[in-house]
């Protein structure tokens, strides 16, 4: 009896680590391809496009890191992203680009921790509204400060080349994926999930609920601020309206829902699919773009509750059933802890 169960456990772990190795391998290959892409194809069109995909990938993962397991819907993404914009506008030039990006991450963490400490006592829709208001508040405050101190509305940013920005965003993207994966597998990931399910029971399990929420919320903000600092250098001019655009808060949420939040592949798929779709519609149907986009979104939310990933899994199950294999998909095997 004891022997069989330990054998089963061994097999389970072996299978798990093999899957894990495969997904790690695929990831590393993708990262390497992304890293050498600008050398192989220096055409700035694709370099720019893929930077854009990665930027939204970072924002969507950064959002899912906290909001996915806890169910706290944060709309503060634009606040941290915009913060990165201003860090770059003020510091890029006087300080080396790499230092600016790292500093943005640190400032993003601190500001998000402060905001989190204030707001994470709120639940549900109140939290959502407050984070939304934070973006508007920052927008107004920065506008007013700029008016008083510089007398102008916007700022010029010292630019970086397409390729430098690309590699910088790639590094932040890899960092985001690796750190998020690490957190999700760690005891903090499990703690976050339990907070999402039952905050009271989580506290009774010995979790410092408020601290855990604040730290993870702020960790997500590191990547958002870094992405902001990098993307700002691709523009020559920024103002509060550009930096703190609400679109930056809403799009990652939609992308994560569009892609699926079960693991990290979902948000990235969502970011790529969404951005590509938007680009296509803007060029192909510039007038009807918003209309078509809206309809696609509604269909996605209504009929794909688990996103693209959920559809893929259903399809997989269907194929397996047809070919007589086991109908189980990774999601069903138990545990919400994502494989990626």
């Amino acid at each position: 009896m004891k022997n069989t169960s330990s054998a089963q456990t061994a097999r389970r772990f072996a299978g798990y680590s093999r899957n894990r190795l495969i997904s790690m391998g695929v990831m590393v290959v993708i990262f390497i391809i992304l890293a050498i892409l600008p050398v192989v194809a220096p055409d700035s069109y694709w370099v720019t496009r893929i930077s854009e995909y990665m930027r939204y990938g970072i924002l969507a993962i950064g959002w899912v890191l906290f909001s996915g397991p806890t169910g706290y819907m944060s709309l503060a993404t634009a606040a941290f992203y915009g913060l990165g914009f201003y860090m770059a506008a003020i510091l890029n030039g006087p300080l080396p680009f790499a230092v600016v990006v790292i500093l943005s991450g640190i400032v993003g963490f601190i500001v998000a921790a402060a905001i989190g400490a204030l707001t994470l006592r709120l639940r549900g829709v109140y939290f959502c509204i407050f984070t939304f208001a934070v973006v508007l508040l920052l927008n107004q405050v920065v506008l007013e400060v700029e008016r008083l101190t510089t007398g102008t509305r916007g700022r010029f940013v010292q630019q970086e080349s397409v390729h430098v920005a690309y590699w910088a965003i790639l590094i932040v993207f890899i960092l985001t994926v690796v750190v998020t994966m690490f957190i999700r597998r760690s005891r903090y990931g499990l703690a976050l999930q339990s907070i999402g399910e039952y905050e009271e029971a989580a506290a009774h399990s010995g979790i410092n609920v408020v601290r855990t929420k604040v730290v993870i919320f702020a960790t997500g903000a590191i990547f958002m601020a870094m992405a902001g600092a990098i993307m700002a250098t691709r523009r020559s001019y920024i103002d509060p309206g550009i930096a703190f655009s609400m679109e930056t808060s809403f799009l990652p949420v939609l992308m994560a829902m569009f892609g699926g939040m079960g693991n990290l592949v979902g948000p990235v798929l969502g970011a790529v699919g969404f951005t590509a779709l938007r680009d296509y519609l803007v060029t192909a149907y510039p007038d009807a773009f918003m209309l078509i986009f809206g309809v696609v979104l509604i269909i996605a939310i209504l009929f794909m509750p688990n996103g693209i990933l959920g559809v893929a899994q259903q399809l997989w199950r269907f194929i397996r059933r047809r070919t007589g294999g086991s109908p189980k998909t990774p999601l069903e095997k138990g545990g919400r802890r994502a494989p990626a």
């Binding site: 169960s5 389970r12 005891r187 499990l190 703690a191 999930q193 339990s194 399910e197 039952y198 009271e200 029971a201 989580a202 506290a203 009774h204 399990s205 010995g206 979790i207 410092n208 609920v209 095997k333 138990g334 545990g335 919400r336 802890r337």
Partner: protein, 236 residues
């Protein structure tokens, strides 16, 4: 081990507990019984830090250390575990993950595998289903999991809130058997129950709570003979 002195508390301006005192010694199995709305769960919430005592209304201490100003998670770290009413499991997690969650305090996290084996020994049925989602368990099994999760932090004392709540009579009997097993491990227990008859059979001492006041206290053997208890709770 646990001492509550002159505690008054409530929700908003509604007072629920009036000047309550209670004490549990190391290794004791103490029961807290009373009807619906008597304030049993409120008292437990105050002990485990969810609810604060009203200002100037006395204090709660565990192992001689005041805990009424601590947060729930700090109290768990001290070795006092609360197994909440109606289970409150993490239903989208597997049984193994639920148990791991219970071992969250750093001190117990390192020993979680060992503790889990001990918990599985106490609840063999959980072991068979370790990788199943916890929502697929039956009511009785869910209660076992809730208890197991509460034990994973390696507490020196557990507070168990209405473990028989919502279970079929046969399963209730099983839960009481488990409670007997639990006391054999030497852990200190404060049990809250509405099931007065069975509770008075297995506990050492009991407190009877009525409308937020302490009505009676004493050894269970004595309470079983008390006219008041017989009339009000045992239907005799």
């Amino acid at each position: 081990m646990l001492q509550v002195d002159n505690l008054s508390t409530g929700y908003g301006r509604t007072q629920v507990l009036w000047d309550l005192s209670l004490k549990v010694d190391e290794g004791e199995f103490v029961a807290l019984v009373g009807a619906n709305g008597a304030g049993k769960t409120t008292l437990l919430k105050a002990i485990s830090g969810v609810l604060k005592p009203w200002p100037g209304s006395g204090n709660i201490s565990f192992d001689g250390k005041r805990i009424d100003n601590l947060d729930s998670n700090q109290i768990v770290n001290l070795g006092l575990s609360h197994i909440p009413e109606s289970r409150k499991l993490f239903t989208d997690m597997s049984i193994r993950e639920n148990l791991e969650m219970g071992a969250y305090p750093r001190r117990s996290w390192r020993e979680r595998r060992k503790t889990m084996d001990e918990v599985f020994e106490l609840f063999p049925r959980l072991k068979e289903r370790a990788n199943q989602l916890s929502r697929t368990l039956s009511g009785g099994e869910q209660q076992m999991l809730a208890m197991g999760r509460g034990l994973m932090s390696r507490p020196r004392m557990v507070i168990i809130d209405e473990p028989s709540n919502g279970l079929a009579p046969l399963i209730v009997a099983e839960v009481f058997e488990i409670l007997k097993d639990l006391r054999k491990t030497g852990i200190t227990i404060l049990l809250v129950e509405q099931n007065v008859r069975q509770t008075l059979q297995i506990a050492d001492r009991a407190y009877v709570l009525e409308n937020g006041h302490l009505a009676l206290e004493g050894a269970c053997s004595m309470l079983r003979e008390s006219d008041h208890v017989r009339k009000a709770y045992l239907g005799m």
